[in-house]
Structures are given as structure tokens and as C-alpha cells.
């Protein structure tokens, strides 16, 4: 029996990597779309890669871009996927204020181009579609916790573009009977999270501070409250949404909330560092309780023109209908992330001590 075929956009990202691994384990033939760049950007999926000459290879990468309809149509025509997971996006909230048009083109129109490609190929009754929607849609929240019924109030060009993508997915489901689902995923992290996202930025900085590779961590709004889960758990729900009898939209969250400040404390504690916070607003600082060194400070550059202060998901529907139970706790995730970043930092420290250059990977 021929296994199912999946196409993942955004395969080089955190979720793409975990999802590809999951689907390969389930016997899928997995195709991914990556943008062409002068540099390799495949660290997260290198362990899945197979040489194109290998017989029976089940993992294939295609060059592509959500801003090019012809390219998407051609790839979908070749791959004929049973399932499409649209995880590709300009996914950084702060960057969206600086590149709003690009964000709209990729996140909003890109989703439409994919849905249209499926229709143009006459595959709307064949191909199931997952859209990576986001808790950022709730923005300036109108109720807490947020459910599938909570109205949206997007607060950034990123969230507005994702709002378009959410509703156009719903519209194609209603208008053309497509099996299309929105997963409204709250923040989900892992050692594979991009280095510029706050959780990874924190765990990476704490590990580097511990080894003397960095002095201080600069953050934006440390009072922001988020509902953090593990990406590995969340991609399983992405897959499960496409295995139901009927398409629907689901909130995926843990139902627990912590501040960015809490996350810093947890990451530091994992390395045996105790941080004492003093001051408020832009003057808030975090000091090493033992040495008194300033390890954390606020840089207003990281403030957003409009902040999202609090997000907390209510995953009742996913629990009841999809059997959603997150397996990895926040504490376990922080431990995993810190250990992974400590390992990287140790490698860098070793290279440096032997006279080799290492990348600092600054923003």
C-alpha cells in the first residue's frame, strides 16, 4: 500500500522539522518547500535528509516560495499531496512592523496562493489543508482564557496578515467544501526555536552567560504573559486535525500562563543562577543574586508599537475532540532548551579556547 504524501511549507523551521519527523515515523512520504538562499538553512532537518540518489527515499525538498503562485502550482502538481501543512510565514511579530507589506504578501496572500493552487489543480476534494494560525490573532484580548469563539483583535501587521489567512481558510472550507483547518496554536517552543524568539533568546543567552561568552541579556516587555508549550507536542495536533471526519478549527494551548520574567528565572535556575529583579519598566534589571552582576536589562528597542500583554488558551475543545494532552511540561521544556544551548555554548567555548573563530549569531 502506498503511504500518504504530505507537503510541508516552512519545512526548515521549528514546526516543520518536528512535523516532518513525526510524519516520516508514521510512514508518510514527506515533501518540503524551502526558499532558496545563498546559505544553507537546513540545520533543523539535516538528520532527515537523504541523498537524492538513495532508492526508496521518503524525504524530498523543493525550492519554492509562497510569493510565487506558478511555483506552488507546479510543486503541488508534481507531489499530489494528500495533506498540505502551511507552516511557512514571516513569523516574527516585531519584524512585521518593519516589513508589513512583505509580511502581508507571504503570510496572507501566500496562504491564498496555496489554497488557489489546490483548486486550480482540481484537488480540493483530495487534499487536506492545515493552516498555522496563531494566538497572536487574539492580540488585545477581549476575554480570558481564549477559546475558538473568542473574537480576534490583532495588534501587529503579522497578526493582521494571519487574520486574513485564518478567514480565507475558513472561506475556502465553506465555499468550496475543502477539508481545511486552522490550528490556533499558542506559543510553542523547543531547542529548535529560532534564536530571535524570546524563549530561545533567553535560554541561549543564559547558557552563554554561564560560560562567560556573553555579559548581559537585553529584552523587551518582560511582563508579557504567555501560554508556552512544546512544539513537539503541538505538531502532533496539527496532524490529528487532518485525520478527523470533518474539518474544524482548534485552539492548542496548555492553559497555563507565565511571564517572560518567570521564564528568565526558570532558565537561570536550571544553570544554578538565581536572579533578583529590581526596578520597573525600561529601568528593570536582573542581578545575579550571588555576584551582583547585572545579567538582564531592558532595551526599549525590543518594545513593540502595540504590545500584546497577555495570552492564555483554553484547549478544552482539542482535549475533548482530539484527545489533546500535552506530554511535556514547561519545566521539562526549559530544562531541555537550556541543556541544548549549554551544549552549543560549551562547543563554542572550546573552539574559542583553541583559537578557532565561532559565530556569535547576533541579530
Amino acid at each position: 500500500m502506498k503511504g500518504k504524501v504530505a507537503l510541508i511549507t516552512g519545512i526548515t523551521g521549528q514546526d516543520g522539522a518536528y512535523l516532518a519527523e513525526l510524519l516520516l515515523k508514521k510512514g508518510y512520504e514527506v515533501h518540503g518547500i524551502k526558499r532558496r538562499a545563498s546559505l544553507f538553512n537546513t540545520q533543523r532537518i539535516d538528520h532527515l535528509y537523504r541523498d537524492p540518489h538513495d532508492i526508496g527515499r521518503k524525504f524530498t525538498l523543493h525550492y519554492g516560495d509562497l510569493s510565487d503562485s506558478t511555483n506552488l502550482i507546479r510543486i503541488i502538481q508534481q507531489v499530489r499531496p494528500d495533506e498540505i501543512y502551511n507552516l511557512a510565514a514571516q513569523s516574527h511579530v516585531k519584524v512585521s512592523f518593519e516589513s508589513p507589506e512583505y509580511t502581508a504578501d507571504v503570510d496572507a496572500l501566500g496562504t491564498l496562493r496555496l489554497l488557489e493552487a489546490v483548486r486550480i489543480l482540481g484537488m480540493e476534494k483530495h487534499t487536506r489543508f492545515y493552516q498555522a494560525s496563531t494566538s497572536e490573532l487574539y492580540g488585545q484580548v477581549v476575554e480570558t482564557p481564549q477559546t475558538e469563539k473568542t473574537p480576534f483583535y490583532p495588534r501587529s501587521p503579522y497578526a493582521v496578515a494571519k487574520l486574513y489567512a485564518y478567514w480565507i481558510t475558513v472561506n475556502y472550507r465553506e465555499a468550496y467544501g475543502m477539508y481545511a483547518c486552522n490550528g490556533i496554536l499558542f506559543n510553542h517552543e523547543s531547542p529548535l526555536r529560532g534564536e530571535t524568539f524570546v524563549t530561545r533568546k533567553i535560554t541561549r543567552a543564559m547558557a552563554r552567560i554561564k560560560l562567560g561568552l556573553q555579559d548581559c541579556l537585553y529584552l523587551g516587555n518582560m511582563s508579557a504573559l504567555r501560554d508556552w508549550g512544546h512544539a513537539k507536542d503541538y505538531v502532533e495536533m496539527q496532524w490529528l486535525m487532518l485525520q478527523q471526519d470533518a474539518p474544524d478549527d482548534f485552539v492548542i494551548a496548555t492553559g497555563r500562563q507565565h511571564s517572560v520574567r518567570d521564564f528568565v528565572k526558570m532558565a537561570a535556575a536550571e544553570l544554578g543562577i538565581s536572579i533578583r529583579f529590581e526596578g520597573t519598566g525600561a529601568d528593570e534589571k536582573g542581578y545575579d543574586a550571588k555576584t551582583g552582576a547585572c545579567l538582564v536589562a531592558v532595551d526599549p528597542r525590543y518594545f513593540r508599537p502595540t504590545e500584546v500583554e497577555t495570552l492564555l488558551g483554553d484547549p478544552t475543545k482539542a482535549r475533548e475532540r482530539l484527545g489533546w494532552v500535552p506530554k511535556i511540561t514547561l519545566e521539562e521544556m526549559v530544562t531541555e532548551m537550556v541543556r541544548a544551548d549549554l551544549r552549543d555554548a560549551e562547543r563554542d567555548a572550546l573552539c574559542k579556547s583553541q583559537g578557532f573563530a565561532v559565530f556569535d549569531l547576533n541579530e
Binding site: S69, F97, P100, E101, A104, D105, A108, L109, L112, R113, E116, P151, F152, Y153, P154, R155, S156, P157, A159, V160, A161, L163, Y164, W167, I168, N171, E174, A175, Y176, R304, P305, T306
Partner: protein, 322 residues
Amino acid sequence: MKQALIFGVSGQDGAYLAQLLLQKGYRVAGTSRDAQMASFASLAALGIGEQVEVHSVTLTDFRSVLTVLAKVKPDEIYHLAGQSSVGLSFDQPVETFMSIGVGTLNLLEAVRFLGAPARLYHASSSDCFGDTGGEPATEHTPFAPRSPYAVAKAAAHFEVANYREAYKLFACNGILFNHESPLRPKRFVTRKIVAAAARIAAGSGETLSLGNIDVARDWGNAREYVEAMWLMLQQDAPEDFVIATGQTITLRQFVAEAFAALGLDWQDHVKVDSTLFRPADIAVSRANPAKAAQTLGWKATMGPADVARAMAVHEQQEILQK
């Protein structure tokens, strides 16, 4: 003397708004995608073709937006441009988002870039609400858009709200329910109906084919609605407003009123054609325009049935004049 700039001046609302602003003593400039090729028939129909300075602007082209803003230096900007047909949006979904979503973004960015002190009105749409299950929509009703047009308008609406909050622009969304007039193009169902009714009254003997006539809408008079746009920009603080009559009738009733105004029984001349049904359509749209009445002191004087009759009579007079 205040300077106004109307994006999308060649359309129904653009023409009535230009007329209103001229009456109020504004200098009025307007844009169209190709001002040399556009006929500006609506401006001509209102006899103001010569008084509006027109510029060629494509909202999806940042340079073109920036140039017209720098040249005109408006005190008030009215953004009425964009692909405006729900039906067409199913056939041209990408262009619909480009013109509405990206176009609005370009305009907001251009205002920001120039640091222009201009006030901005954005034509949001009642289509953003989708089907409220008969509940009258207010400014607090969540959006549930049901067409590529409505989805694009919902995005543009929140772009405007976000730029107001993030960059303190004086920017307002007018969430206008259906508003009609003799200047509506004939592809819009209201104009299609009254045009057919007038021809039938003149003896054409044709049959009018319509899609789903059980849909219910709140139809107002466009001429009254442009006043609400202007009022929004005269307030102390920028806010969003629902603009509607507060009355809803079915398309069947609208047809009956229009035909009756010309002494006809609609049932003798209309057939329902299911191929004209849209892939996803809103059954009932209903509005509560209380905030506009309270804050702007604005109220519609004509209800949907008045609009149907007035449009039919106007259409008949036009035929008679020819």
C-alpha cells in the same frame, strides 16, 4: 480652505463625497487608477467633473501613493478605493487582497512615512460581520467574513486600527452597510433590479433573473452615508462607526418595492436562477447604528424600502429623458 483627497473618486461614494465636500467649501482632489482613461461618469452625472482635480494612482504602488500625498498635501484623506464586488472576489481573490489589503497598508505606510498630519477615513465594510444570525451588528460585534472580499476588508480594517494604536494616526473605519444610489454600477444587484424594472415598465418584455432573493440586507442611501464619513473626521478622537439605517428587508421585498413603484407586480417578471447563487453568502445582515446617532448625530432618513422605490423612479425618469 481645507484640502481633501479621495482615493477611488470615480466610484459611487467618491462622487457623492466629492460633491458634499465641494459644497462644504473644500478643495477636492481624487484618484483613479488611470485618470486619463477613466470616464468619471459619476462625477459628470453630478455636474462636478471640472471641480475635482484627478490624479492617476495605483494603491499597490507605494511610489504612486507617496507622490499624490506629497503633491496634494491633504487635510483629510478618504480611502474608498479597492475591488468592491463580493461576486468578483471569488473569481479574483488575489487581486482583491492586493487592492484592499496591500493597498490600505501602502496608504497607511505613506502617511506614516511623510509624517503627514492628515486625518484618514477608511471604507471598511459590513461584509466583515458575515452572518450574525439575525443579531444587529455594532462596533463590538466580532467579524466572521464569508467571501474573499470580506476577508480582505477585515484585514484592512484591522490594519487601520493597528496603525491608529501603534502610530497614533487619526484613522477611522466606517463600517458601512449596503448603500445604494443611481450611481451604483449595474453589476450590483440593486441597480440591476431597478434597471430591469424600468425597462420592463417601458415595455421591454424581458424576464429578470436573480440569485438568492431570500437574503436580507440593510440598504441605505449612499448620498446620506458620505455625510457620516465626513463627520467621523470632524471628531476629537478617531473611532470606528457602524453606518446603517437600522432596518433590514429581504431582496424579495426590495424587488417588490422597486417594481410596485413603477406599477408592476414583480412576480410576473422575475425568475430565480440558482446558478447565480454565490459559493458562500450571508443570509441576513442587520445593523445597530446607535453609536453613530449618539456620537456623530447622524441618522439615515431613508429606509431600505424608500431606497428601492426612489432608485426605481429615478431609473424610469432616465429612460423617459432618453
